[in-house]
């Protein structure tokens, strides 16, 4: 069997794929966090809970309403996004004049409440969600076996990240968002409804988390704690990429997923901590993050 640095190629590519899949979730989640932080200056600690809600909404759609994976991929993010719109209007909008810390505390509290509600109702053991028939099975590649669904996760999240990036960088609405991120008062003085822009942006960022949740449902089990587990790593990813940087969130998300996968092959003991070690190093050398702009 072919090897690289004494590691079987099959194991290496297997871990690389796993890393890419984790990276896909990191990228979508940190992208949503970056968009929200950039415009709203809110560190959205509820992001993990909203990701979990996406997975649960997909599960409920299937089990209570018989709505399958493909419609859920659209319905669940819209539903989770709307819950975000409500949260922003009712609670978060009251905090814009206060310190960042209040937004963090509020969203952290919301996350605990939401996770608690789901744990009470569904238990903590996790619920199964089947891979849709169209994406089951896999392909035997020369160097590895590629499960179709895992390939789909990587492709779908890349596409969503790219579409989001294009929407922000190339459209009129994106120009409003970029301008309001820099100077909301002036954009408002031009006649743009900035409060509405904030609401929509929060809803969109949260919908991205919901989308990631649906993508995750068939590969990870649908579990009230799934968001709490991943969100800590995602925050480290955001810090490494640079708070508020869109491209930074995408690139570091995928990149760190792959790094984590590689570490699993060469030094498995370090795989759980490698991202935090990188975070510490980046903070020492470049406190604003790899792609962050220092003010």
């Amino acid at each position: 069997m072919a090897t690289l640095f004494g590691v079987p190629l099959q194991a290496l590519s297997g871990q690389l794929l796993l890393g890419l899949i984790n990276g896909s979730f990191y990228a979508i989640l940190s992208l949503g966090l970056a968009v929200i932080f950039g415009l709203l200056n809110i560190i959205n600690f509820a992001h993990g809970a909203q990701y979990m809600m996406g997975a649960f909404v997909a599960w409920m759609l299937l089990n209570y309403a018989g709505v399958g994976y493909w419609p859920a991929l659209l319905i669940a993010p819209v539903f989770v996004g709307l819950s975000g719109v409500l949260l922003e209007r009712v609670l978060i909008a009251r905090l814009y004049k206060l310190d960042h810390l209040y937004g963090l505390l509020l969203t952290f509290g919301v996350a605990l409440i939401v996770q608690g509600l789901f744990r009470n109702h569904f238990g903590a053991s996790g619920l199964p969600y089947a891979i849709p028939a169209e994406l089951s099975g896999g392909h035997r590649l020369p160097f590895m076996f590629l499960p179709t669904y895992r390939g789909w996760v990587v492709v779908a999240s890349l596409a969503v990240c790219l579409a989001t990036w294009l929407a922000i960088e190339k459209t009129k609405l994106g120009a409003y968002l970029r301008a309001a991120t820099e100077n909301p008062a002036l954009v408002q003085a031009f006649g743009v409804n900035v409060p509405l822009l904030l609401t929509l942006t929060y809803g969109f960022g949260v919908a991205l988390a919901g989308f990631a949740g649906v993508l995750a449902a068939p590969v990870l089990s649908v579990n009230p704690n799934m968001g709490a587990d991943i969100i800590i790593v995602v925050f480290a990813v955001v810090v490494i990429g640079g708070m508020g940087s869109i491209l930074g969130a995408i690139v570091t998300g995928f990149g760190l997923g792959v790094v984590e996968g590689l570490v699993k092959v060469f030094y498995p003991e370090g795989s759980a901590t490698v991202i935090f070690v990188i975070m510490a190093l980046v903070l020492l050398v470049k406190p604003a993050g790899l792609f962050g702009r220092t003010a």
Partner: protein
């Protein structure tokens, strides 16, 4: 400059004010900066706010457009009371604002900066007309907004509100820190806008420049209007004005 832009339009002499500021008070946090500012601007007029640094000129503009934290008194635009409105609705009354720091967005290209402010009234200049007015902007349309020179950024800041159809322009020191040749170009632009029927409220430090464009000068000191000088009488009042401005 396009011919159509230069067509003279008569300004009625005794028209109702387009902008009326009365007993305007304003605060930056805890500090009370404006203490009852009051003046009118008639349609088609160019009025400058003159005064020393820190007199409250910029704060007055910020209070009019509604981005000052706390304000009280009365600001009416075309007779509509705007003191309690959020700034986005004041803009929708047909007010265009150029802030002192120009407010060019670094994450937007020149073209994106130019087309960012939404149309608030019909009848704004077209992109083509703005590019004819400021050819530099067209050449650099794809550049990052803040990569422009100071003069070009000022042209961009003025150009982008001409597209919106706003007919009342609030300009905060458009000549600050610019080379004389650029100042001259901005002066020509303002005179052209006046003949086009725009109404302009201009904050200036440089009364020599103000003299070349304005109909009237409102002098502000310590957050109050202390004098109003018609442009025709400026030379006669030069001594007094220099005392006001401390020059």
């Amino acid at each position: 400059m396009p011919e159509a832009l230069l067509a003279e339009r008569p300004v009625p002499a005794s028209a109702a004010p387009l902008l009326s500021v009365d007993d305007l008070e304003g605060w930056y946090g805890e500090s009370h900066v404006l203490h009852g500012v009051g003046f009118d601007v008639k349609p088609g007029e160019v009025v400058t706010l003159l005064g020393r640094n820190g007199a409250g000129k910029t704060t007055t503009l910020r209070a009019i457009i509604g981005i000052l934290g706390r304000r009280r008194g009365s600001v009416t635009v075309k007779g509509v009371e705007a003191i309690a409105m959020p700034s986005r609705l004041i803009a929708r009354l047909g007010v265009g604002y150029v802030p002192e720091e120009r407010g060019i967005f670094a994450s937007l290209t020149v073209a994106e900066n130019l087309t960012l402010p939404p149309q608030v009234k019909p009848g704004g200049l077209t992109l083509k007309q703005i590019y004819e007015l400021f050819p530099n902007l067209e050449e650099r349309a794809g550049s990052q907004g803040t990569k422009l020179s100071g003069g070009e950024q000022q042209m961009l800041a003025i150009g982008r509100i001409l597209r919106t159809g706003a007919k009342l322009l609030l300009l905060d020191e458009p000549t600050e820190g610019l080379a004389p040749v650029i100042v001259e170009q901005i002066g020509r632009t303002l005179r052209m806008l006046k003949t086009e029927g725009f109404t302009i409220l201009l904050v200036e430090q440089n009364f020599r420049f103000a003299q070349t464009v304005a109909d009237r000068h409102v002098v502000i000191e310590q957050g109050r209007v202390i004098d109003t000088i018609p442009n025709a009488d400026l030379d006669a009042n030069l001594g007094k004005l220099k005392t006001y401005l401390g020059v």
